[in-house]
C-alpha cells in the first residue's frame, strides 16, 4: 500500500503517476508573469485562453484545448474527452466542470503584490463536501466542493513566512474526514499552488463488535467513481474493495469469518486512476461472540472535545492547558486517562483538531 508522494517544482508544472503535489510560482514567461500581456482581461495560465501551460511565453497563441491536450489539467485522475467527466467534447478547453474562480492571478487588482502573495489548494474529495481550511489551528476559510468533488481554495493577504494549513471535509451524513496537513513556506509576490490533493474518504461502521463470521457494514464517502480499499490492522493486503457512486457514497459488507477474535482497526483509501487518497481515520471494532451495534451517538464525540461543543479548538486547548501538569484534573481533561495532563494529551488533541 502506498502513501502520498510529493514533488515540488518551481516555475514548471510536471506530473507523473507518483507526483501528487506540485508547487508553482509566478515566473518570467508571458503565461506566468501575472501580467495581462495580450489585453484580453485574462492573465496567465490557466485563466488566459491563449496559454497552454505556465511555460507558454505567448498569451496570444491558440492553445490545444484542455480536453485533448493529453494532460490531467484538473488533477482528477482523468485525462481528456471522453474520460474526463469535465469534458463536453474534445474542443472543450476546461476539464473542470466549473470555471476556476476569478482570483488575483487572473485579474482583479492587476497582479499587485498583496494578491500575488497567496496560497491555493486544489484537489478532489467527495462531492458537496463541506470543506474547512485551517491556518495555524484556526478556521480561516470554508467552502463546498462541487458535484464532482473538485475544490479550489485560495488564500491571499498573507505575510511572508511558514504556515501550517489543514484541510478536512464533512460529508452529507456529518462524517468528518481525516485531516490533510500542509506545511508551506509562503514568499512575497509568489502564489504557491498546492494541487493534486486527494482527500481521504470518510468511514463508519455499523457495529462495535461483530459475531465471528457475521457481516460488518463499512460505509462512507469518497471521490466519485473511485475504488475504496479497506485495510484491517494496518495490513498491506486489502480485505475488500468498494466502488463509490457519483455522489461519492460507498459501502462494503465485510465478512468477518477470516478475521480473528479480538480487537481490530480498519481504514479506507480511495483510488482513482493512478492517484491514491490519504488513508481515512482508523476505526476500532471487535470480533466476539455476539453482535453489538453502534448506538446513535453524537457524531462529534471526539475524546479531545472536552467541552462537548462538537469542535476541538482553542477553547479545548485552553481548558486542558489550564490543567497542564497540575493535580486533580477532571477525568475528561486527562484525555488519555493516564492520571496526568501532559503533552501526550495535547498530541491526541492535535490529531482531533477541527478549529
Amino acid at each position: 500500500m502506498c502513501c502520498w508522494f510529493y514533488t515540488v517544482h518551481a516555475q514548471t508544472l510536471q506530473e507523473s503517476s507518483d507526483e501528487m503535489l506540485i508547487v508553482t510560482i509566478l515566473g518570467d514567461t508571458a503565461c506566468s508573469d501575472g501580467v495581462d500581456n495580450d489585453g484580453d482581461t485574462f492573465i496567465d495560465f490557466p485563466n488566459d485562453p491563449g496559454c497552454g501551460s505556465y511555460t507558454d511565453d505567448d498569451e496570444n497563441d491558440a492553445p490545444i484545448p484542455q480536453c485533448s491536450d493529453g494532460i490531467d489539467n484538473d488533477s482528477d485522475g482523468l485525462i481528456d474527452y471522453p474520460n474526463d467527466t469535465g469534458c463536453d467534447d474534445a474542443n472543450d478547453d476546461n476539464e473542470y466542470v466549473y470555471s476556476p474562480p476569478p482570483s488575483g492571478g487572473s485579474g482583479g487588482s492587476g497582479g499587485s503584490s498583496p494578491d500575488k502573495t497567496a496560497v491555493r489548494f486544489r484537489g478532489l474529495t467527495f462531492p458537496e463536501a463541506e470543506l474547512s481550511l485551517l491556518k495555524s489551528g484556526q478556521v480561516i476559510e470554508t467552502d463546498t466542493a462541487n458535484s464532482l468533488g473538485e475544490f479550489d481554495l485560495r488564500l491571499s493577504d498573507l505575510a511572508e513566512g511558514q504556515y501550517n494549513f489543514v484541510i478536512f471535509g464533512i460529508d452529507s451524513e456529518e462524517l468528518r474526514s481525516e485531516t490533510s496537513a500542509f506545511n508551506v513556506s509562503i514568499e512575497e509576490d509568489v502564489t504557491t499552488s498546492v494541487t493534486g490533493i486527494y482527500m481521504p474518504p470518510t468511514i463508519r461502521l455499523d457495529k462495535i463488535q461483530v459475531k465471528n463470521g457475521n457481516i460488518l457494514t463499512v460505509d462512507g464517502y469518497a471521490m466519485p467513481y473511485a475504488e475504496v480499499y479497506l485495510y484491517v490492522d494496518g495490513d498491506i493486503d486489502t480485505v475488500g474493495v468498494a466502488t463509490s457512486s457519483a455522489a461519492g457514497k460507498w459501502l462494503y459488507e465485510l465478512n468477518t469469518g477470516s478475521i480473528g477474535y479480538g480487537d481490530h482497526t480498519i481504514r479506507a483509501q480511495a483510488v482513482k486512476g493512478s492517484f491514491e487518497s490519504m488513508l481515512s481515520n482508523s476505526l476500532s471494532f471487535k470480533i466476539g461472540l455476539s453482535d453489538i451495534f453502534q448506538t446513535v451517538t453524537d457524531s462529534c464525540g471526539s475524546v479531545a472535545d472536552v467541552n462537548y461543543d462538537c469542535r476541538v479548538n482553542l477553547i479545548d486547548f485552553s481548558i486542558v492547558a489550564f490543567w497542564y501538569k497540575k493535580d486533580g484534573a477532571p477525568s475528561n481533561v486527562d484525555i488519555n486517562n493516564d492520571g496526568v495532563v501532559d503533552i501526550k494529551d495535547f498530541s491526541i488533541m492535535a490529531y482531533h483538531w477541527t478549529g
Binding site: 508551506v184 504557491t192 501526550k344
Partner: protein
C-alpha cells in the same frame, strides 16, 4: 583534539541523516549551524530544527542546554513550526525548555524552490559570547509524538552543535528585515466552563506573527466604548463576569505592530457553557437529597 573529533562526528552525523534515504528515526533534532563561532562580547544566533524524516509529528518538547561560555540574549519563535505552545521556550537554570503542538501534524515544509521537504525551525537562540572556550549546545529530554491519535512516542535522534567563543571575532551583521506587518487576524472567545478557572468567564486567545513574533497581549473590557488596556495571558479572567460587555484583545509584536480584535461570546456568538465537569455544589446537593430521601424512606418503612 577532542573538539575537532567532536565536530567531525557531529558533521558526519548531520550528513548521514540528511543523505540517508531510509530514516532510522522519526524525528531528528539538530542545530543550524552545527559549528558556531562568536567573539567574546559579541552576539550570534543558532536555530533549533527538527527533521521528521517524512513522518507526521504533532508534539515536540524538551530542553536545550546552554553552555556556560555563552549567555542567552533572546529566544525567537516567530518562524516556528509550532502553532500552540504549552510552555513557550524560556530560559531556566541554563536550559531553554519548551513544549508545543502542531494541530494537523508536521512532516516538513514545502516551498516553491525545491523538491524535498525541509526541516522546520522550532526556535532560534540569540546568544552572546561570555568566556573564551569551546563548548556545545546540547539537547536534553527531547521528545516527539506521532500524529496518530494515540500520542505514540517517536524515536528521536539528537545532534548537538559546537560553539567556540574566541577573542576578537567577526561582528555579526544584522540582516533582519524590518517588520511592518501586524500579527495575524485571530478570533478570541469568551467562555465559561467548569473545568476552567473555577467556572469564571474568561477570554481565550492566540495568534502568531511571522515577522518578529508576538511580544504580548492586552485585554480591554468596556461597556462605554472607552478602551482601557491591561496586559493579559490566555485564558484571562474577565473583570466583569458577563458576556454583555465588549471585550477586545490586542496582540502586539516585537516591532510594535498591533492587531486589535473583538472577542465573541463562545463560538458563533453563543456563550460556551458546556458543563464538561459537574460543579462540586451539584454533588453536595445530590448527596444531601439522597440522604434526605433515604431518611424519609426508612421512616416510612418503620411506620408502615
Amino acid at each position: 583534539m577532542y573538539r575537532v573529533l567532536f565536530l567531525q562526528l557531529a558533521i558526519i552525523h548531520t550528513l548521514l541523516f540528511c543523505i540517508c534515504t531510509t530514516p532510522l528515526y522519526a524525528a531528528t533534532y539538530y542545530f543550524d549551524p552545527v559549528h558556531n563561532e562568536v567573539g567574546e562580547g559579541q552576539v550570534n544566533e543558532v536555530a533549533v530544527l527538527v527533521n521528521t524524516n517524512g513522518e507526521y509529528i504533532n508534539a515536540f518538547e524538551g530542553a536545550v542546554v546552554i553552555p556556560d561560555t555563552v549567555s542567552v540574549v533572546d529566544v525567537k519563535t516567530n518562524d516556528s513550526v509550532v502553532d500552540l505552545w504549552l510552555s513557550a521556550p524560556a530560559l531556566t537554570d541554563g536550559r531553554i525548555t519548551f513544549s508545543g503542538i502542531v494541530p494537523g501534524g508536521f512532516d516538513g515544509i514545502r516551498s516553491a524552490y525545491g523538491d524535498e521537504r525541509k526541516s522546520g525551525i522550532l526556535l532560534r537562540i540569540v546568544y552572546k559570547g561570555e568566556h573564551v572556550g569551546s563548548e556545545s549546545f546540547m539537547f536534553e529530554d527531547m521528545k516527539a509524538y506521532l500524529h496518530d491519535g494515540k500520542a505514540t512516542e517517536a524515536e528521536v535522534d539528537l545532534v548537538p552543535a559546537v560553539v567556540d567563543v574566541v577573542r576578537g571575532g567577526i561582528k555579526r551583521e544584522e540582516t533582519e528585515k524590518k517588520d511592518t506587518v501586524k500579527p495575524e487576524v485571530f478570533e478570541p472567545y469568551i467562555v465559561q466552563d467548569n473545568a476552567l478557572a473555577d467556572s469564571a468567564y474568561v477570554v481565550v486567545f492566540h495568534t502568531s506573527d511571522r515577522g518578529s513574533g508576538v511580544a504580548y497581549y492586552e485585554v480591554s473590557e468596556t461597556s462605554t466604548g472607552e478602551k482601557k488596556w491591561v496586559r493579559a495571558n490566555s485564558p484571562f479572567v474577565l473583570k466583569y463576569q458577563t458576556c454583555s460587555n465588549d471585550v477586545y484583545v490586542k496582540a502586539v509584536d516585537y516591532a510594535g505592530n498591533e492587531r486589535v480584535v473583538q472577542a465573541v461570546c463562545g463560538e458563533d456568538g453563543r456563550i460556551v457553557q458546556a458543563f464538561s465537569v459537574l460543579p462540586k455544589w451539584f454533588w453536595y446537593v445530590a448527596a444531601l437529597l439522597f440522604v434526605l430521601l433515604l431518611f424519609v424512606y426508612i421512616r416510612r418503612s418503620r411506620t408502615g
